[in-house]
């Protein structure tokens, strides 16, 4: 992982290392840290493709305010991965377009 090894001022204490998947690939990250941070540490910078222009998007604000980091997590689309904690075994996928939600009535795009 792309971590800062030594720092003159800060000490980083990470939680437990857990595995998760990104688009079917196995990755490792720290439990409880944001999903998008774990992906970035694994060299992943593209989190979704926009609905109309199909443009790639990654981090922007990292505080849950801009919607740039929406991804599909355990089947749920539009998850703000910059503020959603990583859980062991999570299935994280690149979001293409708006994503699909299962409603009681059936599937709506």
């Amino acid at each position: 992982m792309d971590l800062i090894n030594s720092h003159p001022v800060l000490d980083f204490s990470h939680g437990r290392k857990v595995s998760f998947s990104f688009d079917g690939r196995d990755m490792e990250g720290f439990e409880g840290e944001p999903i998008a941070v774990a992906l970035h540490a694994n060299g992943v910078r593209v989190y979704r493709n926009t609905p109309e222009m199909k443009r790639p998007r990654g981090f922007f604000c990292a505080i849950g305010k801009c919607s740039s980091c929406f991804m599909v997590v355990d089947g749920v689309p539009n998850v703000r991965t910059c503020v959603t904690p990583l859980v062991r075994g999570m299935k994280v996928e690149t979001q293409n377009g708006r994503g699909t939600v299962s409603l009681l009535e059936g599937e709506v795009s």
Partner: protein, 367 residues
């Protein structure tokens, strides 16, 4: 659905919100802090440098340590302050005086507080240029979150846009984290931040290019470089643009108040350039035109953590007092004096002018 009924709801657990919570709980009120992020502290947790400002407001202490001190202060009130993390306040319904929030992505809750202190801070500005949506174009806050909170390398070579305090400090922090800074661009003919910060990065060999800006970001799926150019007196590009190799473009082009909830609450607002956006009118207790809502910190005008903490104390105290809790008028006067001192002199001039534009004598008197 879970429902909460605190005396005082504090929205946002940055320096302003934590200070408000401490004062309100200190006076005896039951306080609930709703914080959208996974930790308390707001901007402070990302700041590894020693703060400037006044001694009363922890000047000389590193930002993340100030956050710890404030967390310890509220911890001493035990159950009187409860905190909900990963909880974003999403709506305010004035007729029902009802606040709605999302815990994580799944749980929706109702909060019916007696009083609200809004301390939701600020969000970053974006500037227009082709490809500004490419992954690798990050706000300065995002870069800081990655490297200072989670210890993740944000990139190998960064182009910084903006030479205000944030651009300068984050450049220095990047160097501390072992990341190369290609250059710092500044559209204005002079450096906006404090000279000490500029001197530090210059000594480490980072060029600060005044009267320069970014023309476009380069790359197909992620940033691979940037075209930059010089600007003339009218801020139009002049001469030929040239390429800077970088994998990250960090935008430090200013903040604007996160004022959505104030709009929803129908607070009387005004656009004040010196305070960097639309901000609410207020009395000296930090009460808005909505009698149930107070506010503090960057949400009522972009300033500094030092001012945010005092505003928070004033707001928390006044909100508690309005519920009949006993507060000390000596402390109140002291906070007002400290706030005045912070804004004194040349550096505080813009803030003073901005604040005077939206300050009312008192809502009761003007109603």
């Amino acid at each position: 659905m879970r429902e909460f009924k605190p005396d005082v709801l504090v929205v946002g657990g940055g320096p302003a919100g934590l200070s408000a919570a401490a004062e309100a709980a200190g006076a005896g009120a039951d306080v609930l802090i709703a914080e959208g992020d996974l930790h308390l502290g707001g901007q402070l947790v990302k700041q590894s440098h020693k703060f400037f400002g006044s001694k009363d407001e922890f000047a000389g202490t590193r930002g993340f340590e100030i956050a710890r001190i404030l967390r310890e202060e509220i911890a001493q009130y035990g159950d009187r302050v409860s905190t909900m993390l990963n909880t974003t306040v999403s709506g305010y319904y004035p007729d029902e005086k009802l606040v709605t929030a999302m815990i994580g992505e799944e749980e929706y809750v109702h909060i019916s507080p007696q009083r609200i202190v809004l301390a939701s801070g600020a969000q970053e500005r974006l500037i227009p240029f082709p490809n500004n949506d490419l992954p690798g174009v990050y706000g300065a806050g995002a870069v800081q979150t990655l490297m200072n909170v989670y210890g993740v390398v944000p990139g190998k070579r960064v182009l910084m846009v903006g030479a205000g305090n944030i651009g300068l400090i984050v450049s220095y922090q990047l160097l501390q984290a072992g990341v190369e800074v290609a250059a710092i661009l500044e559209a204005m003919p002079r450096i906006g931040g404090y000279w000490v910060h500029a001197a530090k990065v210059r000594r480490l060999g980072v060029p600060i290019l005044l009267r320069h800006s970014i023309v476009r970001a380069l790359g197909d799926s992620v940033v691979t470089g940037a075209m930059i150019c010089e600007l003339d007196e009218k801020f139009s590009p002049t001469g030929e643009a040239w390429k800077v190799d970088c994998d990250t473009i960090c935008l430090a082009v200013g903040l604007t108040p996160s004022n959505e909830l104030l709009w929803q609450a129908g607070c009387k607002m005004k656009y004040v350039p010196f305070l960097c956006g639309h901000v609410p009118f207020r009395d000296k207790n930090m009460r808005t035109s909505n009698a149930d809502i107070w506010m503090a910190g960057d949400v009522c005008g972009i300033e500094e953590a030092s001012a945010a903490m005092i505003e928070g104390r004033i707001a928390g105290m006044s909100a508690a007092a309005s519920l009949g809790f006993k507060v000390s008028s000596d402390n109140f006067e002291q906070y007002q004096t400290r706030l005045g001192n912070l804004r004194a002199g040349e550096v505080g001039e813009k803030i003073r002018l901005g604040v005077s534009d939206v300050m009312v004598d008192g809502w009761e008197a003007s109603a």
